[in-house]
């Protein structure tokens, strides 16, 4: 059982960071950014490059990659999203898919289709009846650190307060003199930076390959949805919930519980659970309150 919990925690950490970025973007710009997972992939590749070709140790490489990806995101915003502030949310989603395709193609062209592995040798550990590695510990620790840092930023700094104001009521925030565009740039920095870190962690845990984005896409969006779409910390919790749900459903002998003979959800249904949860939550959402039309 503790193994299940440990695995869930690790997986949740990887996905959670990325999911938080999506939620942040949703909170400020009000659309689901499909390109976000691409930021994660870009970040992972940049870290790898910094590590392999520049010889930087992992931690600085990751940080460098996070900053670089963040700047990339700001650039993309300037070029594309900034000009499209006024279109419908679903329109922004479609555009973000376009951006995602461009990024994906760029990565594939630069790095080729083969998968690579980070040159790390983690130590194997064992505690409380679960097996994991020192790398796993680092991953979870990194995530927790990131969450803490974000919390401090959002609640203890002026910039953070400005961001939260923008998220809750954009028009009001602007009339109070909050520089929306600069805050949006900050949001992209954080969001993409988190994606980059998350992508790196994910690649560390599994491997680095161009179609990482497809593997990450569904669980990430599912986590964000579970967490409440525009709730940043909710996304982290959503990731945990999803991860637990997946591992529990797959790992626990459900058949045995109900007394029907040994059966558990086959492993392949992992994604199914993720998407199913997402759809379910969306369907169960209450309609937006207030304003016109009682439907």
């Amino acid at each position: 059982m503790t193994q299940i919990l440990a695995d869930s925690l690790i997986y949740a950490a990887e996905i959670g960071i990325i999911a938080m970025g999506v939620a942040l973007c949703f909170a400020i710009l009000r659309f689901a950014n499909f390109a976000h997972v691409q930021f994660a992939v870009v970040g992972a590749y940049l870290t790898y490059s910094a590590n392999r070709f520049l010889g930087l140790p992992l931690v600085p490489a990751t940080l460098l990659s996070a900053v670089a990806t963040g700047l990339l995101a700001v650039g993309i915003d300037r070029a594309v999203f900034a000009r499209l502030r006024r279109i419908t949310p679903e329109g922004k989603m479609i555009v973000s898919w376009g951006v995602a395709l461009i990024l994906r193609a760029a990565i594939a062209c630069c790095f080729g289709g083969a998968s690579r592995v980070f040159p790390v040798e983690p130590a194997a550990l064992n505690a409380l009846g679960a097996y994991f590695t020192s790398q796993d510990v680092a991953v979870v620790a990194a995530t927790l650190a990131a969450i803490l840092a974000l919390h401090l930023l959002l609640h203890r700094t002026r910039a953070g307060t400005a961001l939260r104001a923008l998220a809750s009521n954009a028009e009001l925030a602007e009339t109070r003199g909050i520089p929306a565009e600069r805050m949006i740039a900050l949001m992209w920095l954080i969001s993409a930076g988190f994606a980059a870190i998350g992508g790196t962690l994910f690649a560390l845990e599994t491997r680095l390959q161009p179609n990482m984005d497809l593997i990450i896409l569904l669980p990430t969006f599912s986590a964000v949805t579970i967490g409440g779409l525009d709730r940043v910390f909710g996304a982290a919790i959503g990731a945990l919930v999803l991860s637990l749900a997946q591992n529990l459903l797959i790992g626990v002998d459900l058949g045995g519980l109900v007394g029907l003979g040994s059966w558990s959800v086959p492993t392949r249904f992992r994604d199914f659970i993720a998407v199913g949860a997402m759809v379910l939550i969306l369907l169960l959402r209450r309609r937006m309150p207030g304003a016109l039309a009682a439907r």
């Binding site: 594309v80 376009g98 759809v279």
Partner: protein, 281 residues
Amino acid sequence: MIAIWSVLGISLHLQFGLTGLVNFGQVLPFAIGAYGAGFAAVHGAPGWSGWVIGGVMAPLLGLVVILPASRLTQDYWALVTLGAGELFRLAMLNIPGIAGGVEGVSVARINASGTAMLAALALLVATVLFARRIGHSPLGRMLRVLREDEVLAATLGRDPVRFQRVVTAISWAMAGLAGTLYAHVIGYISPSAFTVAETFLIWIAVLLGGPASILGVVLGTTIIQLTALSTRFVAQWSQLPFEFVANLRLGLFGLVLVLVFLLRPEGLVPERRERVDAASR
């Protein structure tokens, strides 16, 4: 091939171009149609039952999907349809009993390419005529109103949900039939042909050509399909590896999508002022 994908494009035209409904799972009815054929093949049912499944199941499912649409804002509904499409694909992938699982399944193939072409064109022509009839009718008029302002339609005594249901049913039926035809033309279906990427391919084609015009949709589909098919030739001609060119193509599509939004949101063929009234002076 172009014909088949054009039918898909037109189905989206009805939903989005005319009515303003944003559906990210259009591959779903397509897949249902294709899998209808596959299902029939696997379980030994006669060939025509695949068509029935495609033409009937698809709109039924569409109605199920549209049910929550009235409660959800457009972008949430878009995500739901996306999820629904993926759920279907994953189900097909992971439950081998239905239609072959990962392996996919072979379906009775229309071997004479002439017949295939004819069938596709027939479907396309039928679809175009139907879509035109709707577009030029009072129904089309009201759909355009719905696209712009649902509340207006309601205060004029129309029930927006009924219209959305009708359009979705028709649109999904079209897509379903296209799917079944696709299965019979290709002769083989597997879950990997029906991913989110396919949905967006249709979207790019529609958006590029002009979602509000049938001509635009067909044009857009043609461009995209030709580009896709030419990848092999470009690779050979330029001596670059196929993988590379394929990725370039994807990036190109992404670029096209972004550019359309930035430069020409109406698409290549914008909506003409339709003469939707019988006796206007």
